[in-house]
Subunit: 170 residues, 2 copies
DNA sequence: TCTAGATTGTCAGTATACTGTCAATCTCAA
DNA sequence: TTGAGATTGACAGTATACTGACAATCTAGA
């Protein structure tokens, strides 16, 4: 067991790297979400999209991508799948022929209501191993970090902007 | 501004959900990594794989997946790409015809040395917006949470086990 | 020894993610 | 009004991720 200063490249350095930990935690989070929600056949991304469409009926795909900070290209196929499952409808906009407006179907709205307890169980389980005070600290730090790093991601969150163009905020 | 208790489904609930924050942070982390390392044409996953192969020369793909906690199926294509870039070699094991042993090439080892400063810049940038004390708190909580949730992921980290079978820890 | 069960690498299928490109469409300024 | 530039949705290409299946191979027990 050599005890001299670590050579420049070690697994310990990887295990302690923020990027590695964020990746691991994301994988764990998805795994827990899928487990709790397996009876609903809905992914975390699809859930977020459903909530956003529910909150902003008539939103278009580009603005939806800004509201949930997901890539626009990716979102296209997400919406397709939600459409295939009959949770979402797309109607051409009468005002702008490029745009397709998104609405929840009855079935989509019903699903959203039903799935909430499972989603909340999943979110709770992700933090469960920590002490309650630590959960709060972690979430506070993470909210801060994600917010301050917003511009570093390709698709920054633009919730406000997106809302304004829908005529809901002003 | 309504101040009554939030209706059951809101974007605010999504924005504050651990799963959503972990996803956003992971996307930001990848984005920063790719930006700092763009001259090397290496992804975060490929980097972790290179480090693990460097640390455990002669490891096979299944054990590699345990050492970095990545899915075995996914790892196959990651290794293929590293092989195509001439950073990694695969040789059949003389003892077990199912197994292919992994080694860094000279070019792979050289790349690993060169890329370290960029990787460290990336890791630092991810946490930069936080105060130094907060960075430490966040990392400490995250290390804890990932460790305690280890079994919740499909591919739990099994660094020790994997090492033993390579005859490096006995 | 012979076979049931485990392991390894691979593959097919699905679902994010991101980059870059494109045609259709819209906007706005000259 | 017309044309440059922006926007929208779609697509191709690459790279994780995970599930489930499979043949080849290895291991152990009967």
């Amino acid at each position: 067991m050599p005890s001299k200063p670590q050579p420049p490249v070690t697994m310990d350095a990887v295990y302690a790297a923020p990027g590695y930990l964020f990746r691991r935690m994301q994988q764990i989070a998805v795994s827990i979400f899928m487990e709790e929600c397996k009876e609903f056949d809905l992914t975390p991304v699809q859930y977020a999209a459903l909530v956003a469409i529910h909150t902003h009926p008539g939103i278009d795909a580009t603005r939806l991508s800004a509201v949930i900070a997901f890539d626009r290209s990716t979102l296209g196929s997400v919406i397709e799948r939600l459409q295939a499952k009959q949770y979402v409808e797309r109607k051409p906009s009468p005002e702008d022929k490029r745009i397709k407006l998104l609405h929840l179907t009855k079935s989509g709205a019903a699903l959203l209501k039903e799935i909430i307890p499972a989603v909340e169980r999943a979110q709770a389980r992700m933090l469960e191993p920590l002490k309650p005070a630590d959960r709060k600290s972690l979430m506070a730090l993470l909210v801060q970090l994600v917010d301050l790093n917003n511009e570093a991601s390709r698709v920054p969150l633009r919730a406000e902007d997106a809302l304004e163009h829908l005529g809901k905020a002003g």
